[in-house]
């Protein structure tokens, strides 16, 4: 951390920059607390009597709960599945590296560099034949695959820092591999599991390419629901804002908590 005190102009500039970057979000939140008439008012109102009316209307729409639930299922379900697959994989690579380990890890990371358009057509056709289209669990499965490399990498980087001695001690005491992972490794890996999970939830929650193409009325998460406002020309800005606000607020808060992990997770250790 720098210890130097900047000139006050630079501090002011930093505040200003932060304000400008945050402004569109602030404006969305503000609009979410307006009535429809105030949302469209000209000149735009900074001060108004806030109302929960739009928020209430947005949330109580019959389908809002379903989309919200789909977002929860696809984000949490995919994260759980990714962790379930990634913990053993990262454990194996971190504690028992072979000459092939760097290659395997790199290959996993390379799958994250595959543009979704490169694979969506066959996946769509297969899902159609399996009747998995518009199925929230199928979407969760896709998200798990999408986030698996990031989760594996985050866990791997952390596991490599765990002293091998404590694992060896457990092994000498006759612990099985599963016991070793569950009873020794996981209890000391809380921060890594948490940051991998946070990152995976954020990425899954905000994803919209797969959800727009693989889901319809039943399984679509909030990203698809919010996208349906794209044709609502002006008439429902307050409700749109209120619905969007609930859709982005949890993830923004998680993002604030996950700033550091984000850098590590998304760069795969390319920046130290």
């Amino acid at each position: 951390m720098s210890t130097r005190r900047p000139r006050w102009e630079l501090t002011l500039l930093a505040y200003l920059a932060a304000g400008i970057m945050f402004f569109p979000i602030f404006w969305l939140f503000l609009t979410g607390f307006k009535s429809e008439a105030e949302a469209m008012a000209i000149p735009p109102r900074l001060f108004f009597s806030p109302t929960l009316e739009s928020l209430y209307e947005a949330v109580t729409r019959s389908d809002y709960g379903r989309h919200f639930l789909n977002s929860i299922i696809s984000a949490l379900g995919s994260t759980l599945l990714a962790l379930l697959l990634a913990v053993p994989a990262a454990y194996a690579m971190a504690f028992y590296p072979t000459p092939r380990t760097p290659g395997t890890l790199l290959w996993m990371i390379s799958t994250k560099m595959m543009p979704p358009v490169g694979v969506i057509i066959p996946v769509y056709l297969i899902f159609r034949d399996l009747r998995w289209l518009d199925n929230v669990w199928a979407l969760a499965l896709i998200y798990a695959v999408m986030n698996l490399p990031v989760v594996v990498w985050t866990l791997y980087a952390y596991f490599r820092e765990v002293p091998h001695e404590i694992m060896e001690a457990a092994r000498v005491d006759g612990a099985s591999t599963a016991q070793e992972m569950l009873r020794v490794l996981l209890p000391v890996s809380g921060p890594a599991i948490a940051s991998a999970a946070l990152l995976s939830i954020i990425l899954a929650w905000n994803e919209s390419f797969w959800s727009l193409n693989l889901t319809a009325a039943q399984a679509s998460p909030l990203s698809v629901y919010v996208a349906s406002f794209k044709t609502a020309e002006g008439l429902f800005w307050a409700k749109m804002s209120a619905a969007s606000m609930i859709a982005i607020l949890p993830v923004i808060v998680m993002g604030w908590l996950a700033q550091r992990q984000l850098v590590r997770g998304l760069t795969f250790g390319a920046i130290k």
């Binding site: 072979t98 193409n213 990203s223 700033q259």
Partner: protein, 302 residues
């Protein structure tokens, strides 16, 4: 081999878990959902395959690729993709650099200011498209229109008059925090001694920035550029929710074109050929990132 060595050996051997079995589920899933589908995409790209007429299938050689290469729409989409990625890269790297230098300084409330500044990265792309399209850029009720009027200008219908610039602005807003965070991480590994030494040697702020900070950041910046390129090449939701690729083809990028061919026109073969182009484009960059990551993997603990 002494007895103890043999014992240790057999013991470690016995104690070594079956790593292949531990890795298999993760590898299997990645193969099933990324490698096999891509092979199928390749396969479709050489076939005539239209979902509206699925019986009429067959090998057509390079015809799908040829139809793209001779179609001006394809070249427009490629050009739009490159313009979008290139412009966003330049803007986000410059803005990210400026913001990182600002937030590198120590000032009261820095944590809060930095947290506010990175927030756009966590906004769902669909939502950010709606915020910009409706509440900021709308020609009648948008904030920009009101500002223009206050300044005595005619309000502009941004997405109609400057569609690509508007998308670039929107996407840059989202990705500047990513660049900033990465650059800030790079900056924090800069040694204080070096900066102090430069100051003692009489370097001013600009010289310090130009001759110490920028060279130090060279690797960080190359990572930012490469990773952003890979992610930006897949931009879809922002365009889908704001302009739908229009007006005309003004904001139709390669992913959006493939989407239109596959899910709008049901031309699977042609869309698959487009997807193959998209993968090649992404791989050109990915090779360099992977090489860099691979080098870091070999070199000690990360």
């Amino acid at each position: 081999m002494t007895q103890t060595q043999a014992l240790v050996r057999s013991k470690t051997y016995r104690l070594r878990p079956n790593t292949a079995a531990l890795l298999a589920p993760a590898i299997l899933l990645l193969v099933v959902f990324t490698q096999i589908p891509f092979v199928l995409t390749l396969y479709y790209s050489f076939r005539r395959f239209n979902l509206l007429n699925p019986e009429r299938q067959g090998f057509v050689g390079l015809e799908n690729f040829h139809s793209h290469l001779t179609d001006p729409i394809f070249w427009t989409a490629v050009q739009n993709t490159l313009v979008l990625v290139g412009s966003v890269l330049v803007i986000t790297v410059l803005m990210g650099l400026a913001l990182a230098v600002l937030f590198y300084q120590d000032f009261p409330g820095r944590g809060l200011a930095r947290t506010l500044a990175i927030s756009p990265f966590f906004v769902m792309p669909v939502v950010s498209a709606l915020i910009w399209k409706n509440m900021l850029m709308h020609p009648v009720y948008g904030l920009f229109a009101w500002l223009a009027q206050r300044l005595g200008q005619e309000p502009i219908d941004w997405l109609a008059a400057y569609p690509m610039q508007s998308i670039v602005l929107m996407v840059s807003w989202q990705w500047t925090p990513f660049a900033m965070l990465l650059i800030l991480t790079g900056l924090q590994s800069l040694s204080k001694e070096q900066l102090e030494a430069a100051k003692i040697d009489g370097a001013n702020a600009w010289q310090e920035f130009r001759y110490i900070i920028v060279p130090h950041l060279a690797q960080t910046l190359s990572v930012v550029v490469m990773l952003e390129t890979i992610f930006l090449l897949t931009i879809f939701a922002e365009i889908y929710a704001s302009t739908s690729g229009g007006p005309g083809l003004a904001t139709t990028t390669l992913p959006y074109l493939i989407y239109l061919k596959a899910f709008g026109e049901y031309r699977i073969g042609v869309a698959a050929a487009g997807a193959v182009f998209a993968v090649i484009l992404a791989n050109i960059v990915a090779i360099f990132v992977l090489r860099l990551i691979g080098r870091n993997l070999q070199g000690g603990r990360t």
